[in-house]
């Protein structure tokens, strides 16, 4: 499958992720977060950004990888289904990907990850941003 639009590739912990470049609006430094009662563990909290409340999603908690608390930045993803900030320990930039874009699993968040795609830095899980945010919205 050709990657004609490009993806923003970033690391979270030991894993690489990518989002379609046209859904990644910016990369921000994460300020002190406000915790929300009753939020699931992968929703670390929220912060106000240009008059909007943005939830911060920890990809390591969500995917079951070892938790990495060293993130200082987040990738803001905007879709018609909503906006989220995804934790990032390193941002590698926009690139075209090669390889597979098949679903990485049939249950949970892995239904919304595709790959394994390849970037210069290694194997990448591509986030299907629209269904990913729908999943987060219904998972509670």
């Amino acid at each position: 499958m050709a990657d004609v639009h490009g993806h923003l590739v970033f690391a979270c912990g030991s894993s690489l992720y990518a989002v379609p470049a046209d859904t990644a609006s910016e990369v921000v430094n994460v300020p002190t977060l406000t915790r929300v009662p009753g939020a699931p563990a992968h929703l670390l909290g929220v912060f106000a950004h240009r008059g909007e409340v943005l939830p911060v999603v920890d990809l390591t908690r969500l995917t079951g990888h070892p938790i990495d608390e060293t993130f200082k930045r987040a990738v803001l993803v905007r879709t018609p289904q909503g906006s989220v900030a995804l934790t990032a320990t390193r941002v590698l930039g926009v690139t075209t990907l090669e390889g597979s874009f098949e679903r990485l699993g049939d249950v949970g968040v892995h239904q919304h990850l595709r790959g394994p795609a390849r970037a210069a830095a290694g194997e990448v899980a591509v986030i299907d941003t629209q269904t990913f945010i729908e999943f987060l919205s219904t998972a509670g």
Binding site: T34, V46, E52, G82, S137, G140
Partner: protein, 124 residues
Amino acid sequence: MTISAEVIEGLVLCRVGVDRLAVQAQEVTAFELPHPGAPYAGVGFEPGALAPLDGKSLRHHHTSLVVDSVEVHAERLKLLAVPPVLRLAWGGALSGFVETGGLLWPVLSLERFAAHTVRPEAAS
């Protein structure tokens, strides 16, 4: 994403451990000393959290909710929309967010929040 332009007036700003929340003042029918068994808002942030002995109880008709301390805020504030991924948090008790004093406060429906604190298994 649509950003709510709703304005909210009259809030009770509550400290809960290191966290905070706000409820609409019109939802609070009385401030009381906490009584044994009253649900503690801290459970919403940390399961098993224990209410302080000197906390305050916010009564809403037949329900109540214990917090650490309260401050009434009378100014009009813009109510920021709940992000879609948080609409189901705590059984949908989140009404929005306000910014005051340089801090962001989650605004909760007291009745729904208290109900889910009593019955955490019912939370989504």
